[in-house]
């Protein structure tokens, strides 16, 4: 041990020992890598399409001169690395290109469509959590230790059923019952507040059922934990045992597993939007794929991907706040 | 002749140094008992010996030569007999798998060999067709021993082989281990956290603390005349032993292997170290060496003890 380094050691040590700082740096690093992978994947997506994407987009009948001109305009004749550099540069300046179909700037298309999708996703997320957490927790407390087998069976079978039915089928069913048969809600579109109800419900039902199952299973396993026995040995009233000791721990486990489910909800908007003709990104991407409008497709994939990464980041940060151990856990 | 020796062996996992410059010899036909608390690196050393972990430095030698890659002269018996046998294989298959190809050619010969091995560990050969779940913990540990013997090893590493067993079973497994070792003249590295168990089977006892061997010598010397203060702490900690406690270090915490202290690694807990004798600065700064002390005790003041220790510990 030389003395000059010994003097510096404590500061370095403290720096390295600050778990929050280390967690933040590690998480930031992972986010950056993920974003880079996403950007690169979106870039490669266009270049992996077999054949000439311009030819594919313009149709077989398009004159070769037009194709050549468009290729030149899109920079497709440059070497791949140069295209990649231009792509990244354009992204950072906010230039997402121009739609090959409508001629509108892609950034504008995204700007128009994104709010509708975000509303839908947030509404669905809120509703799913609002249903799932109390329901799962309540079912766990009621059915712990093999109590009330009938209720358990009813809950598990109906939640399996609901979780298995995909969003777009729920949506079709809801449209049939509430719009067609009962006439209570509009069939499609985004206008009055009541036009939000069916899409949000359709989006939330499946994740809510799946999440409720997870909450129940996790709560049951937490109720088996040694520290719950400790809480009982302290003779705390039941409400404190559940609220202080069971719930926070069940939630940490739930969020870990449920996080994937919630980012799945971001993708679920695609199908729901198509059923309800919701003017969001979901209907845009499908139309663009069918029309081979690649600049738009690329941008929407990027937006969805970033959405998923943000959800994952939020999940990890929430976990770190709820469970201090997760900041030191390597991932 | 089969002598296992560790020369300056170091094992690192990232920033953690689990085993730090260990020198240790298991002479031919003897049992070396290795004791230490959890995190001292004793299991890591065992895994490094059999090649499950690659050491970051130093050499592991058998009769002065590097371990051969083809044959397997070192075999290991693991702590938990519930996880060391494949639940989807009959115990006979598990043992047969470990028989070297050259040792028994043909189905019948292999079956005969399995029978011989099971009998060697006092198991009826008809148990060969059973799955591990159908056996008790003690029986599984016997199967694990039979599997280790199948490779005709020269050295056996036994890593906490009785600590997962019920107390009434422990005795029979220890008897078997001792019996086999004497009959087959095996060299053995016997690892345990339980000093009484180590004492019962070992000829030589080595004490490990935070990745270092701090004392090593003939069992009686180490137990009756311990040179390193940590060895004495271990002996005093055995239930039923009444030893005066140095108040300054009575409730100190075990060291964290991720942040080993500078100087002598034992100094924050040492009853003859700087916490009790403030003038002993050397412990804070200089690493003690084993050379020149009785039992190779890695303590600056080991010599100090030798002079005064003519009364034996009541062991």
């Amino acid at each position: 041990m030389a003395s000059p380094t010994a003097a510096m050691a404590p500061t370095l040590e403290r720096f390295a020992d600050n778990v929050w700082l280390r967690f933040g740096l590690r998480r930031l690093g992972r986010l950056l890598v993920s974003v880079w992978v996403l950007l690169t994947a979106a870039f490669l997506m266009i270049h992996l399409i077999p054949g000439d994407p311009v030819r594919a987009a313009l149709g077989i009948a398009a004159p070769p001169e037009l194709v050549a001109a468009r290729r030149e305009a899109l920079g497709l004749n440059d070497p791949l690395w140069l295209q990649y550099v231009h792509y990244l540069r354009d992204l950072f300046t906010g230039d997402l290109g121009v739609s090959t179909i409508t001629g509108l700037p892609v950034a504008q298309v995204i700007g128009d469509r994104l709010p509708a999708t975000v509303e839908l996703a947030l509404g669905g997320f809120g509703l799913a959590v609002a249903i799932a957490v109390p329901l799962g927790l309540g079912m766990a407390v009621l059915t712990r230790g093999g109590r009330r087998r009938q209720a358990e069976l009813a809950f598990t079978s109906s939640s399996v059923l609901l979780a298995a039915v995909p969003e777009f089928l729920v949506a079709v069913g809801l449209v049939y019952v509430f719009s067609v048969a009962l006439g209570w809600a509009p069939v499609a579109g985004r206008s009055s507040p009541d036009s939000y109800i069916l899409p949000i419900v359709a989006l939330a039902v499946g994740p809510a059922a799946a999440l409720a199952r997870i909450v129940r299973v996790e709560t049951l396993s937490v109720l088996q934990a040694d520290f719950i026995r400790t809480a009982r040995a302290k003779r705390l009233p039941d409400r404190l045992v559940y609220a202080r000791h069971a719930l926070p721990n069940a939630l940490t486990a739930t969020i870990t597993i449920g996080g994937l489910l919630l980012s799945g909800l971001v993708a679920g908007t695609v199908l729901v939007e198509n059923v309800f003709a919701w003017p969001g990104l979901g209907s845009t991407i499908v139309q663009s794929i069918l029309a081979k409008d690649y600049p738009v497709v690329q941008a929407v994939v990027l937006v969805y991907g970033l959405g998923v990464l943000v959800v994952n980041l939020a999940v990890d940060v929430t976990l770190a706040l709820l469970d201090p151990r997760s900041t030191i856990r390597e991932s | 002749m089969s002598e296992l020796s560790f020369e300056d062996v170091t094992v690192r996992f990232g920033r953690l140094t689990a085993v730090d410059g260990v020198n240790l010899t298991v002479p031919d036909g003897t049992v070396v008992g290795l004791v230490g608390e959890s995190g001292s690196g004793k299991s890591t050393l065992a895994r490094a010996a059999v090649g499950l972990i690659r050491p970051s430095g130093g050499r592991i030698l058998l009769d002065g030569r590097p371990l051969p890659r083809k044959t397997r002269p070192l075999q290991m018996v693991f702590q938990d007999p519930y996880s060391s046998l494949d639940p989807r294989m009959t115990v006979g298959d598990s043992v047969a798998e470990a028989i070297p190809r050259g040792a028994a050619a043909g189905r019948a010969a292999r079956r005969a060999e399995v029978t011989r091995l099971l009998e060697l560990v006092d198991l009826p050969p008809d148990r060969a067709g059973l799955y591990p779940v159908q056996l008790s913990g003690g029986q599984r540990q016997r199967v694990a021993l039979a599997r280790a013997l199948a490779g005709r090893p020269e050295v056996i590493i036994a890593d906490e082989i009785t600590s997962a067993l019920d107390v009434s079973i422990q005795g029979t497994v220890l008897n078997l281990v001792r019996d086999l070792q004497r009959r087959l003249r095996l060299s053995m590295l016997f690892i345990s956290h339980n000093l009484a168990v180590v004492r019962y089977v070992s000829d030589i006892i080595a004490v490990m603390y935070l990745g270092r061997i701090v004392e090593c010598g003939p069992a009686d010397d180490v137990l009756l005349d311990p040179q390193h203060p940590y060895t004495r702490e271990l002996l005093a900690a055995i239930p039923g032993t009444d030893a005066p406690v140095e108040a300054a270090v009575a409730d100190t915490e075990p060291a964290d292997p991720h942040h080993p202290p500078a100087g002598c690694r034992f100094h924050p807990r040492c009853p003859i170290g700087p916490l009790v004798h403030p003038d002993r600065r050397a412990c804070l700064e200089i690493e003690p060496v084993a050379a020149g002390h009785r039992n190779g005790a890695a303590c600056h003041f080991a010599a100090d003890i030798v002079v005064r220790t003519d009364r034996h510990q009541p062991v």
Binding site: V286 | T172, E253
Partner: protein
Amino acid sequence: MRSRWGSVLRTPVGVSAAALLAAVLLLAVLAPLVWSAEADAIDTGSILRGSSAEHSMGTDNLGRDIFARVMVATRLSVVLALVATSIGVLAGLVLGTAPLVLGARAGRIVTAAVNIAVAFPGLLLALFFAVIFGVGATGALLAIGFAIAPGFARLTQTLVARVAGLDFVAAARLAGVGRARLIVRHILPNIGEPLMVNATIAAGNTLLAFAGLSFLGLGVQPPAYDWGRLLGDGLGGIYIHPAAALAPGVAVVVAGLAFNLFGEAMAKGIGRQTAAVPVRRWRRPAATPVQRVPGPDAVLAVEGLRVSFPGPVTPVRGVGFTVRRGEAVGIVGESGSGKTLTALAIARLIEEPGEVSADRLQFLGKDLRIGSGPALRRLLGTSLAMVFQDPTTSFNPTRRMGRQLAEVAEVHQGLGRRPALARAVDRLRAVRIPAAERRARQFPHEFSGGMRQRAMIGMGLMGTPALIVADEPTTALDVTVQKQVLRLLERIRADDSVAILLISHDIAVVREVCDRVLVMYAGRIVEELPAADMHRLARHPYTRALLAAVPDMTTDRDRPLAAIPGRPADPTRLPVGCAFAPRCPLADEQCVREDPPLVADVLGHRVACWHADLVVGEPR
């Protein structure tokens, strides 16, 4: 292994799921043969009709029969789902076992890539691949296959990592087993079942996902059709003609559920090998006469304590003893002897479906068998302290240490947050935790094992305990730390004359701390004797064998240790007579026939053995 799959089919859910799945598969094979002609018959005369005698579900925009089309679409839908699943599972298996095959470094890159991919939802990946592979059935097949691959790879990795970390894999490597054989013989068989379960569920999900892609127009292209395509075509006319959209929707859900439910049933059948047994109430035998009246200084008096579980199993079968003020009593026994359940029953911590009954269960003169009001809760919360075996799992990981102690004072002593925390810090100091104030603000994982166990004891000292029940308090600790914890318990006992009930498998630990020892075997106390002189006084063959089988620092190294043949008694299969008889060298016919009673001699030592008188002198 066969019987496990059989057990899947024996549950009602399993049977119905299997039947449903069989029906779907059968339909996939037969439907095109039966309904093809009808499904393709264009009838411009009856376009978009509702249901009629001729067309039970009505017709589509070319007058084709919708029911027939839904039936015929079964084959394509199911085949596409199965092929896509196979692609995904295969790709997932390859990626998942790559770390094992390629070695650590290349494996880490694959793992990292999978970890990033798995964060993206399947549908998004499917859309991504659909762009690359183009619109159509083949494109969608590859897109969905690759989309489920990362999830499967992650699952495989987790399972492989878990199995590969087990010692039997290490043992096989030491035995010279090669990498390929290691994977085929040892790893795949041990991860096969969960993989199959997940593949089945994945097939269901793939079916639904494929329907989704086709519905969006990205999957199957006309003139071919699957359920998703039919659904998408039908949706436009849902106002006038709902059956065209609902019929394929129902088909998708039923088929998807068939796969999912079968997978769930498989998972259940594998996970729970023993089916639930109907709960039978434990019938109490005729009450045994209460032999002794506890003295006035008894902190705890137990008589005829039984704990039973549905099965029925009775792991504690009539335990009785007393603990006096300031006394330390030990319970020694092997796993399955019922010693821990005895402790939990005394502390009223046995939860349903466990049942506790006793002829007497008194703590500080209060009958614990009746009542559960706040008064009793306060009494137990402040006067009975518990210390559990594993200090790592016995604290709530998400609450600060100080608060976990403080809540005892808040609930039972009505202290406010601040004074309660101050008391917690004071108690942490009392159990010799350095820098108690700072430590109180830390979380349990920042404490070492020994410190946690001391904090646990400190938690018991928040009130004014009359009894500390410590269940294997030092088993998880190193010997030097064990010594510290035992010293702490002794000091507390001496300072405040707190009684201690110490439960351990380690006779040496019990002997060091306790005045009296209770030896338990198979749910009964077989001997009660003073701790100090166990070697001389032990009369039960089990106690004596236990003393002789465990080496200590004075054991003669040249003689073999005493062996106890056989294995510990199984509480689900207890013999009629003495439970130790099958392992006992003294057992005779009486022992097999009759369970010996626990009889006290003049000195108060109790022993339950027909042949206790035969045993004299030193056990070795």
